[in-house]
Symmetry: C2
Subunit: 480 residues, 2 copies
């Protein structure tokens, strides 16, 4: 990589760093229609790993996958008053099909609560049909004005779970359970130290009684909502008449939930762990965990080196490590190092003629640059060394990100300090404001309530903004 | 299941048998917008198993997955003349987004060759960028007038592969390779004995130089096109200007291919193996391979039986068998037998008090009804017995379907016999007709050339329709 190809640094322009990195690391590209995204094979492999890590967690809680149509009759959206208010401005509308104007326009789903409501109403008759626990892996469309790859695109990839229950308690339990699944995934798979909590009324999903969220701090101190779980109460059950006969043969409305996590989480991973050299992917999700670079100058060394590389490659594959050999002939080792650093591969194995002679290799880690991150390891112990290093890197990424988040989370008790805090990180404050006061803060300081964290201090305090007594603490931040 | 709940028999009304079975077996449901489909959890689990079996075969040939937008600018479709002619009548058109009329309408992809062509043109510069081997798992939309669950719906789930190559030979090789992958999948995973071959010019994909296909015979003797692989030559490369600099620094157009297999294949499985009792799923793809039914009348037996059932359940799970315990309390064992037969579960384990006492179970197979399909097995040898039985069932399904197909494929040499043949099966004939003559047969006898099978007899013959000398044999059939 030549000097002119270097990424702009994070401190210079975080936004430009992100935008160019997504393209340069071959994660994604812009689609031809405004605001659409092409996810390239490297980005898609990362998404597949996220999907699998989530999917096995969903299934362990009894959830099953299904497929629902992307087209929803326009009239469905209008059945839940708050829902239509929230989504109407963002709809993509199909007015013509098969060369003819449609009698009723169809919307491309912005989310599926309405078509799920309509369908569950048909499926549920008795308490024996409950609960219904369904998840959809699909894409949805929201007509966003300002788009950004992975974070906000017209069409985006996600999963949306939709459950129906006989009681309010079961729905509440499921809402919390799925938020816990998201938090566990974020911490233990992505090494992203999210803050789990509840949204304010203003920030709730359109049509929900309660929205739970995981919020992450990006490398520029801004917040990224990374997954949400909604308790929909009986709002959609009443709008779509989802009823069941209970054990006493009486008709009851169901209680429903929905919960979603999208490929925007790839943005969270990029902006949580990335550095001026490029991506830094958590080993558990990285499409490639180890890249092997053969090094030779003379033709006589080539066979010897490639033989050792292939043997090592097979050993690592047999151990279940996701490995790639970079045997491109037209590129220097130095170029390749930079290239795979840019792509965030957690570990690198370098094999040259002297390594072969000494039965060793150089093993470098992506999260620590230069000589400090490099060790020489016997080929006999390489598999174990790589496995241990991957675990160590995973932990180190979580530790670093947690430290960064904590250092940039400020407990403040007045508005001036608040405004300073949210310029570089989160403000953790006692809050007792109204919706109007929350809006005032948003317009003035550009910061919103990210959540009321589940982890609350004991006792009570004084609202930093209103001066009134307050019984809960909120996390404010500037959001993506 | 009471008498009135019985399926209509295949011989009585094959079409109604299929339509009601898809609903009754909980595979799918109708969506609210005309022609759309909801794939229910049981159907989706089957689709996931198909996906995995295909996906690992694709990846073994070097193919990577990616994600492309569902929205394509209308103008793209018009760039390849034959392509737009083929797809224009079937398009769904988005004319409004975010509350405003769009300057250029967007179509919801009916297939992605055009957006792929546009994108590959950007991605490919040099021969070093080739080949590109990408697959998409997504859904596409075609405005069909007459729809049928899984076989023909407005939106359907599939995979579409898109490759670009430096030479005609490589593209031809890839076209054949992917057809071979489909045939291998059909035979060895789905036990569907497909006939691989080439489509006639009339039946080619819109914009292809060559279309290869696998054709299956359904239980009513009709043909189902089950997967296709297209050699697009340089048609799309020229329409979208996909060019590369070769080793001599000269600009060349690429050669491209595309290939697809859809959830319509679930229809092929249903109509190849199903019988009057319901689905018969091939063990390798069945979401549930074994269902365990606990049997007890008295409360005192219940614990004993359920204890044995749980032990057996765990042993089968540990052996990697996909197992389900049906412990519903409100239903009789007989009802459950019928219920899981309807759903096509390959094997059933029955555990009653006497079985527990004798340390045995009854093991029944779905593909052979009644006492002939039932054996008593020691609990100690059950895992092995189930594993062997699943292999045996898989083979038996393929053998039965192959026999049925062969018995209903007729070598005929005159038009009268031809018309009789295609009423109940396939006609295998020497063919030397023109496109006009092919159309004549289609309109008159309702039969089309399913393919020119790769397996051809030696020598030459006489065209059954024109009486002219012919050097190839075609398979004709009535198609879904």
């Amino acid at each position: 990589m030549s000097e002119k190809d270097k990424l702009v640094s994070q401190s210079e322009n975080f936004n430009e760093w992100y935008n160019s990195l997504v393209l340069r690391a071959d994660l994604a590209d812009y689609g031809p229609a405004r605001g659409t995204m092409i996810v390239k094979p490297y980005g898609w492999a990362l998404w597949e790993n996220l999907q699998q890590a989530l999917d096995r967690r969903f299934k362990a809680t009894g959830v099953q996958n299904a497929g629902f149509p992307m087209f929803i009759p326009m009239s469905f959206l209008q059945k839940e008053a708050k829902h239509v208010e929230g989504f109407a401005p963002e709809l993509a509308v199909v007015t013509h099909g098969g060369g003819e104007a449609l009698a009723e326009p169809l919307v491309v789903r912005p989310t599926s609560e309405t078509i799920i409501g309509h369908t569950y109403a048909n499926w549920v008759q008795s308490y024996r049909d409950l609960p219904i626990l369904i998840n959809l892996w699909n894409s949805v469309v929201r007509w966003e004005k300002r788009t950004k790859l992975f974070l906000r695109t017209l069409e985006f990839y996600w999963q949306e779970g939709h459950t129906a229950h006989a009681t309010a308690a079961e729905a509440a339990e499921r809402t919390q359970m799925m938020l816990d699944v998201y938090a566990d995934f974020a911490l233990n798979e992505a090494a992203v130290p999210v803050i789990p909590g509840e949204k304010s009324e203003m920030e709730r999903f359109a049509g929900a009684d309660q929205t739970l969220t995981i919020e992450a701090m990006m490398g520029d101190g801004k917040a990224l909502q990374s997954g949400t779980s909604h308790n929909l109460g009986q709002n959609f059950a009443k709008a779509f008449d989802i009823t069941y006969l209970d054990r006493n043969n009486e008709i009851q409305h169901c209680w429903t939930t929905s919960w979603g996590l999208s490929a925007r989480f790839i943005g969270a991973i990029i902006m949580t762990h990335g550095d001026d050299h490029g991506l830094v992917l958590p080993p558990r999700l990285a499409p490639i965990q180890t890249v092997i670079i053969p090094i030779y100058r003379k033709d006589k060394d080539k066979n010897m080196v490639l033989e050792a590389v292939e043997r090592i490659n097979q050993e690592l594959i047999a151990a279940g490590i996701r490995v790639k050999v970079d045997d491109r002939e037209n590129l220097t080792p130095g170029y390749k190092y930079n290239d795979w650093e840019l792509r965030g591969v957690p570990t690198r194995v370098e094999v040259g003629p002297r390594d072969v002679a000494k039965n060793s290799v150089a093993l470098a880690r992506r999260d620590i640059s230069g000589r400090d991150g490099k060790q020489f390891v016997s080929q006999d112990g390489l598999v174990q060394a790589v496995q241990e290093l991957l675990v160590e890197i995973q932990q180190n990424l979580l530790d670093k990100a947690t430290k960064f988040r904590d250092e940039n989370t400020f407990d403040v008790d007045n508005y001036d300090d608040f405004k300073t805090a949210v310029k570089t990180g989160f403000a953790r404050v006692w809050w007792d404001g109204t919706n109007a006061e929350e809006t005032q803060v948003k317009e003035d300081a550009k910061a919103t309530i990210r959540c009321f964290p589940f982890e609350q201090p004991e006792g009570t305090g004084t609202c930093f903004f209103t001066g009134r007594p307050a019984n809960k603490v909120a996390i404010f931040g500037r959001a993506y």
